[in-house]
Symmetry: C2
Subunit: 317 residues, 2 copies
Amino acid sequence: MSLSRLAIAMDIGGTNLRYAVVNESATILAKGVTETFEFEGKEAVIRRILDAARTALSWADTKPVAIGLALASPVDPVTGVMQMPPNILSLQGYSPIKDLQDNLDIPVVAANDATLAALGEYKYGIKKSVSNMVYLTISTGVGGGQIIDGKIYNGSRGFAAEWGHLTLDFEGHQCNCGSNGCFETYCSGPAIVRIAEEMLAETALKSSLNKHLGKLTPQKLASAARDGDQFSIEVWDKIGRYLGVALSVILNTLDPDVIVIGGGVSSALDLMMKTAESEVKTRALYPYTNNIPVTTAKLGDDSGLIGAAALAFDNIN
Amino acid sequence: MSLSRLAIAMDIGGTNLRYAVVNESATILAKGVTETFEFEGKEAVIRRILDAARTALSWADTKPVAIGLALASPVDPVTGVMQMPPNILSLQGYSPIKDLQDNLDIPVVAANDATLAALGEYKYGIKKSVSNMVYLTISTGVGGGQIIDGKIYNGSRGFAAEWGHLTLDFEGHQCNCGSNGCFETYCSGPAIVRIAEEMLAETALKSSLNKHLGKLTPQKLASAARDGDQFSIEVWDKIGRYLGVALSVILNTLDPDVIVIGGGVSSALDLMMKTAESEVKTRALYPYTNNIPVTTAKLGDDSGLIGAAALAFDNIN
């Protein structure tokens, strides 16, 4: 028996559809996951989204107030239309809002998944009250979301907070997005491995280490660094400097109260912060003397679901 | 005889103190200017600010509702304190608000000058109604201001919108701010001259042109380009590409309805837009097909005064 109102939260990604019943304290009361099977095409994916929503609704013991959708895509802030979803191309130009509303007779709201993870961390992750927050999720790619004046900020076309595509060097490494030298090409998981391999290839040990190339992962580099491995420590020092350049730009342009960093790579944030902080102190205009305002995310993989639920509650109140 | 309410606007810069009586239609009814004489020290500068305010007040035929101050400094959003003003160092840590209020018995509000220029352009320059706008002023340095959801956005510490210190290449040219490769080191007036001279030095004509080095100005390069001079056209093409990288980052992270460009260099914006637009179409995630949302500022040197007046009226309503 729920004491608070309920929302349905769905996280619609290129690999998985995650769905949950969430209460107003951001407790996930029940959750499930199914594969997106994007290759089956638009109609099949839409059917699977509807089925997942029906399943989640069946779990709720009181009627949820709304469904909140976290979409792995830039989302038109007015229509909810998915604009160029990089990993669910079959849903390009589609908004799941109307189909869900029409079939399930419940209000539906939607936003970008990283934006909703930002909202989740803002409302339930960080423990202090602030007005402005930037959230970065660093894993296979780098995404972002931002809260301005206490509200999610989507930008005028739904393309704001794409900090992964902040240029760090306009002649840098080719990015998947078509640009060069994006932050994502310096600090994502694959970028960290690429940079570590480049560093290895430069060492005198090159020939004897070649057999290890291709087997590095950010996880291995992090645990080796924690064990005192000098090479791995140097890799994280280098990645931390790149991170610090990006953080400086965020501080110089949005000047948020706090930057929250999530995603798989954030578990190595402590290994990067010394050099990142040093870059920020050199590059940011604000004269930071003590710690810079950066912290790790608290909600883990559930941040998107919790943010989607928060959006659902916000839009009903 | 004024038909609308009046405000006093003051633009307090490192070189000049500008002051005006402005009505609610943003018409400057009277204005004056005096030198800041920063070298005379804090007390003298404060006295001069008070004198200028008194003069402006004496011009008004009805009592102005407030004084709005445009300060050449990051401004603490709560206290109005000037934080590290690069060209008025004697006022570091000082807020002119209390002295003006106490001496002149009138409400006083203050913000950063580029932020208020943004507000001026937002309310009275661009002719369409938008929610989100970024303003860049490109002259000796590069400053910025931004309007988010219809309001000026100062950031949590008053250090937002410092787009001049957006990194374009983290190993680039040394910037006055202590960082490297800032946008300002690619597109400010002095940067344009430096880059043009570097390009000249690379040409086969180097020896015969050396005598001209040091005599280039952005104005000369612009008029030569308009006269069809191939070298000058190439300079602007190159500067336009740098500008395009910066515009792409603004679009990828704030996604404003429009980017408004003012400052002396903006008079050459047409010469830069072809290459800038091409960079944006390569680097921005939003699929711009026609024109990119960039326009020149309309209010010229008065934008700071008009924005300061707008702030004064906004805070009274």
